[in-house]
Amino acid sequence: MAKLSGEAIKVITEICDRYKDEETPLMMILSDIQKEYGYIPLEVQELVSEKTGIAVAEIYGVVTFYSFFSLKPKGKNVIGCCLGTACYVKGAQQVIDKFSELLGIKPGETSEDGLFTLDALRCIGACGIAPAVQINGTVYPKMSVDQVPGLIDLYKNEGAA
């Protein structure tokens, strides 16, 4: 646990305390930590385990079960390509492959400059506008492979500015 800063320990302890009266606080705690830091490494899970008495193996199980949680830091821009059934039949695989090709990273990875993380999502409930791509919470409907380079440029430039 040596890796965590005093400040981080304080914040995470505060998050754990927030839900100490809940019967099953784990999801809420992990959600808050994910929102606060963008990822939940093992050292943080160990701290949560210490504070809540929930075994690390169980916490690790939850973190690795839900794609919303991440073990590694995410990039500045998180690109989520929906690969749910509707998006998939409308060509989502080609879209994510194009992102992958242009960014030089596989789904689940983060680019070396820390600008982009590419995620494959399960159905995000936007089947009517399939294939859907979500970047930092903004949904882009009916994506085509041709639109991919422009979208990357848009966020890259934003990142530079």
Binding site: L42, Q45, A55, V56, A57, E58, I59, Y60, G61, T64, F65
Partner: protein, 592 residues
């Protein structure tokens, strides 16, 4: 208790409300296979789907349900044998097999695999669903436990057992869907996890996914090299070994076991009971010193290596409370390599000590750097009860037809009844009290037995023993869930005890992680409630051997007296400390 009416296979039965269909069917004489369910819902994730039956409630439709979790209800019709139910169970098994490492012939679990058993039972067909397999992790970095995910069926029993016994939950499910595996957090090795290596998980695993690391090869090699191979056997082994050969649980097999060991070619066969008697001399003396000289109290026993691992890991601040005594087999190993080797004129380096133990943590214990001196390791190899069974079987010995034979009697053949009961929770305490009573009063305890400390479950027991006006408060715990309660009291300065016995496994060594598997599907001649009674049955095997002994107290073992006279001097002497005592380390790098 409210009874309700149900029909199973068209026959009416009255069963307890609240039971699952699986439990009710078992009570009514049916056998529904299951891989995930264990005793009284110890694991009930309904994950294996091998227990599917058809159930109809009222006028509702007949539905396939997992009988291990589905409760019975008034008027329910349960069908086990319908084509729909039998084929559903078969498909469940075939799907499990499709992602299973089917090297059954070479698998160490061969013969005791529940997956293979249900495959036969359900009539699973060959290679029904060929396809991808989940990426595999094989962890055999510890000397104790091997984890092979290629054989794991994700039933969750090991997770439930670790939690039930110790509240540890070292193991958990991780990832999701097809990539799900069971392992310590981050899919680490047991080596890098806070596992105490007790091996309880290996006793419930239905397949070969969790097994002890076998050391039979090491023993073979020692024989090949022409070493003087000496074997010593822990008390609890005799209460379980018979099960490897189809005997009823609780059959003591001491005589046959010795006969088998002699036929296996060991130069000497000794009982660790002698080491247990020696432990009592050392530990009893240590306790008296602590009581009279204001030492750290309560003193806690240190015979169980699973418990010692736990203490070092989780209660590093309380290590002063642990007795400095090595465990009995380590003590005896040290004596074999010094006193015995000297008497025989052997170079200790040519002596190879094999311990047969009910335990997987002992495999780790023997490799601790503290358990080694200029004579080499105290103990060179540790076999579990199960491994001894295998060793005997492969050697062409018909165990059941062996005569009863005696331990080698030269210098450590004698043992007391106090040594025998070391194998059950409360036993070390009782053995110690018998000797401490004598040391304090100069007379034997009239009743001999301290029945107030006896039991065979994981709960905490406590007693106040009046020894000629001195009150000794004692407590006993097995399984870390119970131990933690006593340890927290010490940490908070509220402990009223002088002496505490802690054993790693619930019920003590008789239920150790290296003992024979207790799997009802392979025990057709045992009672239905065998999972509730086997610990008591094994404990009785030890208590009855204690009763049969002429000598019941460790200090009356004449060979122990001789050992002190000829070699060690007196208990806790300088030499005794060098050979028989150890140290603990809260910052231990547990493995190389």
């Amino acid at each position: 208790m409210e009874l309700i009416n149900i029909n199973i296979e068209g026959h009416p039965y009255q069963v307890e409300k609240g039971m699952t269909i699986l439990e009710a069917a078992r009570k009514c004489g049916f056998e529904i296979p299951s891989l995930c369910a264990y005793n009284h819902g110890e694991c009930s994730l309904a994950s294996c789907r091998v227990c599917l039956v058809e159930a109809q409630e009222g006028q509702g439709p007949k539905r396939l349900v997992a009988s291990c979790v589905y409760p019975v209800s008034e008027g329910m019709n349960v069908t086990i044998s319908s084509p729909k139910a039998t084929s559903a169970r078969r498909t469940s098994v075939e799907l499990l097999l499709s992602n299973h490492n089917r090297n059954c012939q070479e698998c160490d679990k061969n013969g005791m695999c529940e997956l293979l058993h249900v495959s036969k039972l359900t009539g699973a067909r060959e290679n029904m669903y060929p396809g991808a397999k989940t990426p595999v992790t094989v962890d055999q970095l510890t000397p104790s436990i091997k984890r092979d995910t290629s054989k794991c069926i994700l039933c969750g029993r090991c997770i439930a057992r670790c939690d039930a016994a110790h509240g540890l939950s070292v193991l958990g499910f991780e990832k999701r869907g097809f990539n799900t595996i069971v392992g310590p957090a981050e899919n680490r090795s047991f080596k890098d996890s806070p596992c105490i290596l007790c091996g309880q998980c290996t006793t419930v695993c239905p397949t070969g996914a969790l097994m002890e690391v076998s050391e039979i090869d090491k023993v073979d090699e020692a024989f090949r090299l022409g070493k003087h191979v000496v074997v010593q056997v822990a008390p609890a082994v005799r209460a379980s070994l018979g099960e490897e050969f189809g005997m009823k649980i609780g059959t003591p097999v001491t005589g046959k076991m010795i006969a088998a060991l002699k036929r296996l070619g060991f130069e000497r066969c000794y009982d660790v009971n002698f080491g247990a008697d020696l432990t009592i001399m050392e530990e009893g003396t240590e306790l008296l010193h602590r009581l009279t000289d204001g030492g750290t109290l309560p003193m806690i026993t240190s015979c169980s290596p699973g418990w010692v691992n736990y203490a070092e890991y989780y209660y590093g601040d309380l290590l002063d409370h642990l007795s400095s005594c090595k465990s009995p087999h380590q003590m005896q190993g040290a004596i074999i390599k010094s006193y015995w080797a000297k008497q025989k004129g052997y170079d200790p380096k040519d002596v190879f000590v094999v311990s047969v133990m009910p335990c997987t943590a002992k495999k780790f214990e023997k490799d601790r750097p503290e358990m080694e001196n200029e004579n080499g390791k105290d103990v060179d190899a540790v076999l579990t009860t199960r491994e001894l069974g295998k060793l005997i079987k492969r050697s062409g010995i018909n165990f059941n037809k062996l005569p009863d034979e005696e331990w080698d009697q030269d210098i450590m053949g004698e043992y007391s009844g106090a040594g025998v009961i070391f194998g059950v929770t409360g036993g070390v305490m009782e053995a110690a009290l018998r000797t401490v009573y004598y040391k304090l009063t100069n007379k034997e305890y009239g009743k001999i037995e301290f029945s107030e400390v006896r039991g065979n479950d994981a709960g905490i027991r406590e007693a106040s023993i009046d020894i000629d006006g001195t009150t000794v408060n004692v407590a006993i715990a097995s399984g870390m869930r119970s131990a933690r309660v006593l340890l927290d009291e010490i940490r908070e300065g509220k402990s009223k005890y002088h002496f505490i016995e802690i054993m790693g496994c619930p019920g003590g060594c008789i239920n150790g992680g290296g003992q024979s598997y207790v799997k009802p599907c392979f025990l057709p001649n045992e009672d239905d409630d065998i999972l509730d009674t086997y610990k008591a049955k094994r404990a009785n095997a030890l208590y009855s051997e204690d009763e049969r002994q002429v000598i019941r107290q460790s200090h009356n073992n004449s060979q122990i007296q001789e050992l002190y006279k000829q070699f060690l001097g007196e208990p806790n002497s300088h030499l005794a400390h060098e050979l028989l005592h150890t140290t603990y380390n809260k910052n231990r790098e547990r493995f190389d």
